[in-house]
């Protein structure tokens, strides 16, 4: 690259002298919409949320005044740490389940689907055409006590509470289902980029199919795995719809705690503090995860 650059630049120097100067400015101009978007819809609300999280109550219920009440974070953690743990367990299991389901599917679409590939990809995205809420409601019918699925597992005596709906199982299933496409698509994108000749080369070199997968396909698909797990885990951790509609009172997640504090208690500082704690934990998890996966430069 360094050897080529001077020649390429040299021949163009006369023509593009002005253009080369303009280029950085053009680049910055192109950045403006994105930065403005981030500024208005991410930074500003975030800052406002941060100040809200430090507000102190007044003597009127639901009214708060600017303050520097760091104790809000402590209160939020003290009261809701079990909920945080439960949320991460549910979303963690859902993420692993989604990976296990999505990987073979993405593999099939990438390598074996042939002319069906486009159709299959459309089918993966198809659920998005119906509202998230409606699809989650549909699961209540699918998992109903007298429904086929629950009856089947009940006949095998596999269900501790004789039901699926309104148990943690339903919450995890709902999370898995709702975020599955976010796992499939990055996996597919990563797998599809793999040169099939590498796999052939592996088998030419006497790698068993399993070794070929372990040494060639899996490492090359890692960026997809990392992206997919993050895209599943992060929204699943903050989700409250699945816990509300499919869970029992004891299955509430952090999203529910935030929603209740905002809408029911009108306790905006605690709700904001909860949001920030959730964000901090997720950032920490992501940081460690990407470090461990060793793919900082790939994601």
């Amino acid at each position: 690259m360094p050897a080529l650059a001077p020649t390429a630049g040299g021949s163009a120097v006369v023509v593009s002298g002005a253009a080369a100067q303009r280029r950085p400015r053009t680049a910055y101009l192109l950045l403006i919409p994105g930065l403005a978007w981030l500024g208005i819809f991410f930074v500003v609300p975030l800052v406002s949320l941060f100040f809200t999280s430090l507000q102190a109550p007044t003597d009127r219920a639901g009214v708060y005044q600017p303050a520097f009440q760091v104790g809000n974070y402590l209160t939020a953690l003290q009261e809701y740490w079990p909920v945080f743990i439960k949320s991460f367990i549910y979303s963690g299991i859902a993420t692993v389940l989604a990976l296990v389901i999505a990987y073979p599917l993405a593999y099939f679409i990438a390598f074996r689907a042939g002319r069906w590939r486009a159709l299959l990809l459309v089918l993966v995205v198809a659920p998005f055409f119906a509202s998230f809420l409606l699809r989650t409601y549909a699961w209540r019918t699918i998992l109903a006590d007298e429904g086929f699925i629950t009856s089947f597992f009940n006949a095998l005596h596999l269900l501790p509470e004789n039901r699926i709906l309104n148990t943690p199982i339903a919450v995890v299933l709902g999370l898995t289902y709702n975020f599955l496409p976010f796992m499939i698509l990055p996996l597919y994108a990563a797998l599809e980029r793999i040169d099939p000749r590498l796999i052939e080369a592996a088998s030419d070199l006497y790698a068993s199919p399993f070794t070929g997968f372990r040494k060639v396909i899996w490492p090359l698909s890692l960026p997809g795995v990392v992206a997919g797990t993050l895209l599943t885990f992060i929204p699943a951790s903050g989700d409250y719809i699945n816990a509300t509609l499919l869970g029992a009172p004891s299955d509430r997640m952090v999203g529910n705690a935030i929603q209740t504090n905002f809408l029911q208690f009108r306790d905006y500082p605690i709700a904001s503090a909860l949001s920030f704690i959730l964000m901090a934990i997720i950032l920490a998890v992501v940081f460690v995860y990407i470090r461990r996966a060793g793919t900082e430069d790939l994601v």
């Binding site: 109903a144 006590d145 309104n166 004891s250 705690a257």
Partner: protein
């Protein structure tokens, strides 16, 4: 250009707009402009836009555009008005529009008192429009709006039918003269159940006591209401306390009872209207629910007040202070306080009409409903129900917290 000094009222309004508003500040401002505010409040609705803009308006009152814009925005709860099941039209609303030329934009976007309030609170405090000219809120939430100055006083001159308000609804503590609110409907927090499944599990087809609901045979097959007052009221009454006049300790005892039933897995879910679907599929056998809902389910389902007492609640129409079609809203209220119209709606929603004369009018609409205890309750039924104690905003938050905590939030 020199700055002209502002009048005290104008200065107060400017200050109010500049500062980030707290409710208290709003009240302070309202106090400063007190005289003008009262004057505007008395005049509002009477003369329409020109008049109310000439008098210095209270900072919380919006200009009434009723005369130039012939429509009104109405936010109500789901399934709370008569619907023509075939066309999807609202017959009484249609008749209203045909008669007055005022179009009604009717939306079912109040699903929970707290959530609805949280949604519009910021606008109310800064005096911005919430695009709703009538909202329907339960007593305690209506009280909060009135206390906070978010409700506009009604012009009874436009609502002569307000005289039809049944005596039982007059003189309520939060609005003694009904200056701000007119009840829409009342109903009961009561038991509801699937007759066949209850027979199968408990060997009876009527539910009369919370003891039955707590029967281990119904484990995981019952739901409670997420409306704190209905659920807690029924539990307190069952424990021997008086839900309309209880102590902190009595409330704690009821929370403890609720908590133990949730922890044991007896209670499957605590929800709003969602329980109706669960009753229909048979996942849930018995519930603490709302009386009117059970009728929509049909004959396979039973409804009844607990022996120890059910809860009586009332939802009220009120006009937000920021409403821009106040006179139109008052015209709507007047229309629905016509006994015949009230009876028509009651026949559909099967809740208790607060309009005197609706019972007589019902005879001409559906005679079979005249003796329906759930639309026209007799004294015995009313005696067996409680109206939840009025709470201060602080008490409300504290009690809500304990309730929500027990139900897993």
């Amino acid at each position: 250009m020199t700055k002209r000094p502002l009048s005290p009222q104008a200065a107060a309004i400017v200050r109010m707009q500049q500062a980030s508003l707290s409710r208290r500040r709003l009240l302070q401002v309202a106090g400063i402009t007190g005289v003008a505010a009262t004057a505007a409040a008395c005049g509002a609705g009477g003369g329409g836009s020109s008049e109310s803009s000439s008098a210095a308006p209270s900072p919380t009152m919006a200009t009434d555009m009723s005369d130039s814009e012939k429509f009104v925005n109405w936010a109500n709860w789901p399934l709370y008005i008569d619907v023509n099941d075939e066309t999807g039209e609202y017959p009484t609303l249609k008749a209203f529009t045909d008669g007055t030329g005022i179009a009604v934009n009717y939306t079912e976007d109040v699903n929970d008192n707290n959530e609805f309030f949280a949604k519009v609170r910021a606008q109310l405090e800064s005096g911005q429009s919430i695009d709703r000219d009538i909202v329907v809120l339960t007593d305690w939430m209506a009280a909060l709006w009135i206390q906070s100055g978010f409700a506009a006083p009604l012009d009874k001159a436009i609502i002569p039918n307000a005289a039809n308000l049944a005596p039982a609804y007059q003189g309520v503590s939060f609005d003694p003269n009904r200056d701000y609110t007119l009840p829409w409907f009342s109903g009961f927090g009561a038991f509801g159940w699937n007759k066949a499944l209850l027979q199968e599990t408990l060997g009876t087809d009527t539910l009369t006591s919370l003891d039955q609901l707590w029967d281990p045979k119904l484990k995981g097959r019952i739901t409670l209401l997420s409306e704190m007052r209905d659920t807690m009221g029924i539990i307190m009454a069952w424990q021997g306390a008086d839900p309309s006049n209880f102590t902190d300790d009595q409330y704690q005892a009821a929370v403890a009872e609720l908590q133990s039933q949730i922890d044991s897995g007896q209670v499957r879910q605590v929800s709003g209207n969602d329980y109706v679907a669960a009753l229909e599929t048979g996942d849930v056998i018995a519930v603490i629910g709302w009386s009117g809902d059970m009728f929509q389910l049909g004959d396979d389902f039973g409804v009844g007040l607990p022996e120890t007492g059910g809860m009586l609640w009332t939802d009220n129409m009120l006009i937000p202070s920021v409403a821009t079609h106040k006179k139109n809203a008052e015209t709507v209220m007047n229309y629905y306080y016509d006994p015949v119209v009230a009876a028509e709606v009651a026949a559909y929603v099967q809740y208790i009409s607060p309009v005197a004369g609706a019972k007589e009018a019902m005879a001409g609409i559906d005679p079979s409903l005249v003796d329906n205890q759930w639309i026209f309750p007799d004294q015995a039924t009313l005696d067996n129900s409680y109206v939840f104690m009025t709470l201060t905003p602080e008490q409300d938050v504290a009690y809500q917290r304990e309730f929500q905590k027990a139900i897993g939030f």
